[in-house]
């Protein structure tokens, strides 16, 4: 049966495994599934491999055992064209908003680079960008700024906005608000919810803050000592 989902099937990640050493097991036999429009919250103590799990699902790192399935095809066996499509459809957003943009480039040119990558004709750039800025609630003024002239909250919004230009189906949010102030955190969380209902995007939200997870997610997983416990 064909299903539109992103699925992890009993994946494990072990670092430094070789002939002689067993290596350090980060997580073992982790399975879960996520569909567009849903939020899967991933929490657990720090240093237990939440971020690593996120990167494995995003396809940046390969799992030691097990497979990640995207629309029923295994990541490791994907053809190049399909993989490029996957690369667009599954995006990852990192914790530190200040590092997300090239400090020597204006925000605008960072954003237009993405549009050029998508081979969108130049005429549409302006309208696409405007549309994106409306979604994330920023004015056009920011495009002519450098990243250092913007606040963390604004940069995090822009980071989400730039990802949205790629029209992804899933976004892996790796601690999206832990570098932000409480009031900005609330703004970003609300914005993420709005974007989700508008564009039907599936989130995997990684956070150490239980309150954030509870607020955002439909299902929630606790990653503790290498095992994932799924809580509805």
């Amino acid at each position: 049966m064909f299903s539109i989902s992103l699925r992890a099937d009993s994946i494990s990640k072990i670092y430094g495994a070789g002939l002689l050493s067993e290596g350090r097991c980060v997580f073992q036999n982790v399975s879960f599934e996520i569909r567009p429009g849903e939020t899967f919250g991933l929490t657990g103590p720090s240093g237990e491999g939440k971020s690593t799990l996120g990167r494995v699902i995003a396809g940046i790192e390969k799992p030691t055992y097990g497979t990640v399935y995207y629309e029923d095809s295994s990541l490791s066996e994907m053809k190049k064209t399909k993989y490029m499509a996957f690369r667009r459809k599954v995006q990852i957003m990192f914790q530190d908003p200040t590092g997300a943009f090239n400090p020597r480039k204006r925000i605008g040119s960072s954003v237009f680079d993405v549009l050029k990558l998508l081979k969108i004709p130049n005429i549409e750039h302006a309208s696409k960008t405007k549309e994106m800025l409306i979604t994330i609630g920023l004015s056009e003024e920011v495009l002519s700024r450098y990243p250092s002239q913007l606040s963390g909250g604004q940069l995090q919004r822009l980071a989400i906005g730039r990802i949205l230009l790629l029209e992804p189906e899933y976004i892996i949010l790796d601690e999206p608000t832990s570098a932000l102030d409480v009031s900005v955190q609330a703004q970003i969380l609300h914005m993420l919810k709005n974007v989700q209902t508008e564009k039907n995007i599936g989130y995997i939200l990684i956070s150490h803050d239980q309150a954030v997870i509870r607020f955002m997610s439909d299902t929630c997983g606790l990653l503790e000592s290498g095992q994932l416990r799924v809580i509805e």
Binding site: I92, P103, R104, A126, T129, T135, S148, I163, M191, N194
Partner: protein, 319 residues
């Protein structure tokens, strides 16, 4: 920021549309951000600023001399007058053994000396940057290979090699340029590599990789602009060192006889008895010119490096 954003969805849209119409009413077409400028001079205070300005002034003077020698030179370089003449009103810096006007020679020699310096520095910077970027960005086996190669190049002694080459080939400035350029890129490559290694862990490089940008695009638009501030002073200092190498090789008699650079002038002054007869107007000017030109380039280079340091500090503060 005069525009509010309400996180309530409808409100947010409203605000956005407001901004949209505002822009439209201005009638301007969406301003595309201009390219980042790499012009990095800055008004320093005190001694450093003074030195910087002196450096820039001298450098511009020498570049003008190299570009338009006829403006500075009163006569053509091969025109002959009475030899061994002391400075006078007619010949401001006197004449040499075959009666060439030294000021004219000096002006025309600037072009050759500076060509050698800049071409060699350009070659070495290009090679060093390309290799350093590739090694740092791709890491792994390629990195090992390239850095191994760099180490091999590092141990090749430059001057002896040029002497050997000069003995076998007809000495010409092109050979000089290519040897100086091809053998002096290792420090640029190392610096570029280490900086690239540092940058490839940065958030924006990682997110560009995740968004599916090609490696070439990431290197070109994300990493290169962030290392150019290191490369430019490196380039300037490489120019200075190439000019010195050229002068010393020419002095040793390994220069191109048809291209009379400052180093060649010194060499002639030495071999044709300028030193013995104590004709200071013959051997001093080329020496002073070399020193001043190298000094000006080095001053600019140091100024740029200091600027880069400051930039780094600023960056650290904003973090």
């Amino acid at each position: 920021m005069n525009q509010f954003d309400c996180t309530d969805n409808s409100c947010m849209k409203e605000a956005g549309i407001e901004g949209f119409s505002e822009k439209k009413s201005e009638g301007s077409n969406f301003e595309f951000p201009e390219e980042t400028s790499y012009w990095i001079f800055q008004k320093h205070k005190g001694f450093q600023g003074l030195f910087n300005r002196i450096g820039v002034f001298l450098f511009i003077l020498f570049v003008l001399m190299a570009l338009f020698p006829s403006v500075f030179a009163p006569y053509a370089p091969e025109e002959r007058f009475i030899p061994y003449e002391a400075p006078s009103e007619e010949h401001l810096l006197g004449t040499n053994d075959i009666g060439n006007d030294i000021l004219s020679e000096l002006a025309f020699g600037a072009r050759i000396s500076m060509t050698v310096g800049f071409m060699a520095a350009l070659i070495s910077t290009l090679i060093g940057t390309a290799l350093g970027l590739c090694a740092g960005y791709f890491r792994g086996a390629l990195d090992e290979l390239l850095m191994g190669f760099t180490d091999v190049v590092l141990v090749i002694p430059k001057i002896p090699l040029i002497i050997v080459m000069g003995a076998f080939l007809r000495p010409s400035i092109w050979i000089l340029i290519s040897i100086l350029g091809l053998l002096s890129w290792e420090s640029t490559a190392r610096v570029t590599r280490s900086k690239t290694l540092q940058l490839r862990g940065a958030g924006y490089v990682k997110s560009a990789q995740c968004m599916g940008f090609s490696s070439y695009h990431i290197m070109k638009s994300d990493i290169f602009p962030n290392i150019i501030h290191i490369l430019f002073p490196k380039f300037m200092l490489a120019t200075a060192s190439a000019m010195i190498s050229e002068a010393s090789l020419s002095f040793l008699g390994l220069g191109d006889l048809s291209m009379k650079s400052w180093g060649m002038m010194l060499s002639f002054a030495f071999s044709q008895g300028g030193f013995i007869r104590d004709m200071w107007w013959w051997y001093m000017p080329p020496g002073i010119c070399i020193t001043l030109c190298v000094l000006s380039i080095a001053l600019i280079g140091f100024g740029l490096e200091a600027k880069e340091g400051e930039h780094f500090k600023e960056g650290a503060n904003t973090l």
